[in-house]
Every structure is written in structure tokens, then in C-alpha cells.
Amino acid sequence: MASKVISATIRRTLTNPHGAFSRCRHLSTAAAATAVNYEDESILMKGVRISGRPLYLDMQATTPIDPRVFDAMNDSTIHEYGNPHSRTHMYGWEAENAVEVARIQVAKLIEASPKEIIFMSGATEANNTAVKGVMHFYKDTKKHVITTQTEHKCVLDSCRHLQQEGFEVTYLPVKTDGLVDLEMLKEAIRPDTGLVSIMAVNNEIGVVQPMEEIGRICKEHNVPFHTDAAQAIGKIPVDVKKWNVALMSMSAHKIYGPKGVGALYVRRRPRIRLEPLMNGGGQERGLRSGTGATQQIVGFGAACELAMKEMEYDEKWIKGLQERLLNGIREKLDGVVVNGSMDSRYVGNLNLSFAYVEGESLLMGLKEVAVSSGSACTSASLEPSYVLRALGVDEDMAHTSIRFGIGRFTTKEEIDKAVELTVKQVEKLREMSPLYEMVKEGIDIKNIQWSQH
């Protein structure tokens, strides 16, 4: 069947190679690996057969692009193709104008001035620039960085790189609900602390850190405060002045924008200085040289403006769906634990652990729901997520954690279906599990003396 599709496509490409309206897509090897069976329309991919496209509940990994953002990008792609840094002709002026409009849109979302926004290729680049750039600039006087154990991998890896260069890094532990202990933060600050980096909303467990308090502590001790707000902007109200942040990383593809663009907010009053990561012609205030991706930036700006308008409406809708999901699962199952604080949480993120269930088999059974597990996004090994380990979650519970990401486009029916599928799979696995039988009989698993063979 797949060979017929391939040969038909090849025939079509050979007879109409330059047709302006040809809709043929050259079959890559990856696409050829997906054999769509046209009779019953089930999909066979990577050895797994599913009856249709799974329902998408992984909004923390990325979000689908909003049609309104898509529309805003199209005109710019077709006509505004000039280099925004060309100063001599209209093509450059038009493209620059588009970038400046997007800059104003992004700045309005976080209550900053447009001159403080630097466009980058994503939140990872922004985090790298912030952490390494600040420390390299102040390397004569400041040698210490404070961050948490639950940060995103790019921040932790940048800190490890700094450690290899000779800086000292303190990784603050978090409480069992995922929030930073403010007393420990105060104690950890030293006279030679150059940066405090704490993410606003965690991508795995969804807890919202007490940003205003942390900002106040950093202001008292005169330490620059960097936050990774990729999961926070457009979802919770962000105000850089109230939070007293000096640097903030943002990403477009988490707020229904295009992938490949992000921004770094760099405060101008009082000025924070950085060493740029990308050297070159001095674009973007000298902090990020290189031609900006005009089309992506326009999409980012449109996504930010849209997020500002829709924030309240989306939050109300997503909160209702989160309650529906949690209550639906809790009604039918016991032994369900929510990882992270329930009070200080972004509503679209629900990270659940199911007791007495094996993690990998649960994920294999949930192929019709696109969710993420605690261990998958961090490493290729079978180690459970470092975030859950930092929360103090037991190894067996950390392995069975599932992260449900709810977004603007999720429907009630999708949530009901996700509840149904999860409950069915967990019940099936628990029925097979001898551990669960023992728990039902009242035996305490932790105090069993397993006999040695």
C-alpha cells in the first residue's frame, strides 16, 4: 500500500515538477514510514495502530498555531520580505516597521517598554543569553548564581557550563508543593551573587512561584532577578515592574504562536548589562546580532496581542476543564495524587500520579491521548523527572506521573474522553497488579520484608 502511494507521488512530481498550484508533497522517508490504510483509516506509526489522530492534551510542550496568528503572518511572509536592518530602501523600512509593531505588542503584554524587548530564536536562547551573558559581564566582581532544582533544562545546563568556568552555583531545593522557600533564598544570597534565576510557571508541574516576594527580596539585596516566563506570559497576568525582574525569557510557541521565535526582556531602568551570545552587526541593541525572522516575529506579536485580549476568557474556560478532568478521574479512581501545589498553580497544567500502576505500561495504553509523562521530556534514560524528584515524590509515583496540558482549543468532550481512557487503562493495570491486591487487603507495602532468593 505504501509503495503504491510512493509511486503515485513520484509519477505526479515527474509530470508536474514546477506547477504553481501543485499540491503534491515530496514523500520523505519519515512520511513513507507512516502507512495510512485508506480502508479503515487507522494509522500505523512506529509499530502502534490507532484508530485516528489522538486528542491533544500536551499544551506545555507546544501549542497549535491560532488561525488568527496564522493570518497575521501570511501577509508579512509574502510581501514584507526585506531585511529589517536594510536602511536604504522601502523593503527594509516596511519589514522594520512590522518588527517594531510586533515589539510594541509583546511589550504591552508584559507592561514593559518596546525598547526593552530583544527578539531571539526562542526561550532557550533567551535563557542562555541571560544566565551566561550577565555572569560573563560581571565576572570580576560577581561569582555566584542562585537557581532552583526545578528549573528548565536550559537554565540548569547553562549553570553547569558556568560551574565549569569557575563560577559557583546554588541550586535551591523546593518544598513538597513545588514552591521556593523564601527564607532559604534570603540565606543563600551572598555579597558576590550576580543573578537569581527562578522560573515563573513550571512547565512540568505548573506551580506559580511567588514572584512579587522573590522580586522584593532581590531588590533589597540588589541582585538581578531573571525569570523564565515561557509558560507564564499570556496565561497569568505578568507585570515586570511589580515582579521587579531584570530579565525575562519568553517563547512564542507556548502561546499559540509560531515556533522558532522568542524574546528576552532586558530592563533599562535601572540598566542591566549583558555580554551578547551572538556577535555580529550589532542588531537588537547589540545583544543579538543577526537578521530577525520577520515573519515569525510578526506572528509572535500577533499571538501576544491575542493572548492579552483572550486571557480572562481562556482562563475561565480552562479552569472549568481542569476541574472537570480532576473530578472525573477522582470520582472513579483512588490513589490519585496531584504533583505540586493546588492553590498556586496555572490552571492549564495538571500533573497526576497514579499509585500502584507501572508508568511505561500506562503510557503505552494511553496512545489515543497525546500527553506527556514525567520522565519523557527530560532524558532518554528511564530516570524519572528531576522536577518530581526535587519535590520529594517517591520513585514509583514519579514513574507513573502524567502531565495533562489543557489549552484554548480543548473541548469538554475531549476531557471526558481523556478521563474515560485514563480510568479504563488504570483500572485494567491495577486489576493485573498483585501489589494493588495486597493494598486492598490492608497490607502496608512499605513495611514488607521481601524474601531474598
Binding site: 483509516e41 489522530r53 493570518d71 482549543f409 473541548t411
Partner: protein
């Protein structure tokens, strides 16, 4: 000041455009957002505000119809599981 029939026909046009999207999630979202959007502004009395809301909705209709043409030009290759089960 726009008349009631104009508002209703705009709402119907938006719903009609939303219904044609091949993607399940966007289809459901346009229906929900249109109805909620019109319901939220139901009790506006100030003529300038009414005209402003009407103009915004009209702009959204133009966006929806334009984007619909592109989305229909690239139909999805696989059916969404929600549509398969609903059969």
C-alpha cells in the same frame, strides 16, 4: 447604530464559516467563541461601543473566511479520534 438583524446575520455568517473548518478543535473553538462573544456584548447600549464591537466582529469574519480557504487547501490526512468515535 447597527440593527438587530445585521448583528444576527453577522453571527450566523461567523458560525457558518467556523463550521467548515476541517480541524475538529478549531471548529469547536470558533462556535464557542462566537456565541460567547456575542452573548458577552448582548447588553451594550452605548451606540459607539456597539459599532465598535460590530466592526471587530466583522474583521474577525474576514479573517475567518480568509484563513478557511488556506486550511481547506491543505486538508488533514488523518481523522481526529473525536470524529471517528462520533460516527
Amino acid at each position: 447604530m447597527v440593527s438587530r438583524s445585521e448583528v444576527l446575520s453577522l453571527c450566523r455568517a461567523l458560525l457558518r464559516a467556523g463550521r467548515q473548518y476541517p480541524d475538529y478543535n478549531i471548529r469547536e473553538y470558533t462556535k464557542r467563541r462566537t456565541l460567547d462573544g456575542f452573548r458577552m456584548n448582548k447588553n451594550l447600549t452605548d451606540p459607539s461601543k456597539v459599532n465598535e464591537a460590530f466592526a471587530e466582529a466583522k474583521a474577525q469574519l474576514m479573517v475567518a473566511e480568509r484563513v478557511l480557504k488556506v486550511y481547506l487547501a491543505y486538508p488533514p490526512k488523518t481523522k481526529n479520534i473525536m470524529e471517528v468515535k462520533l460516527q
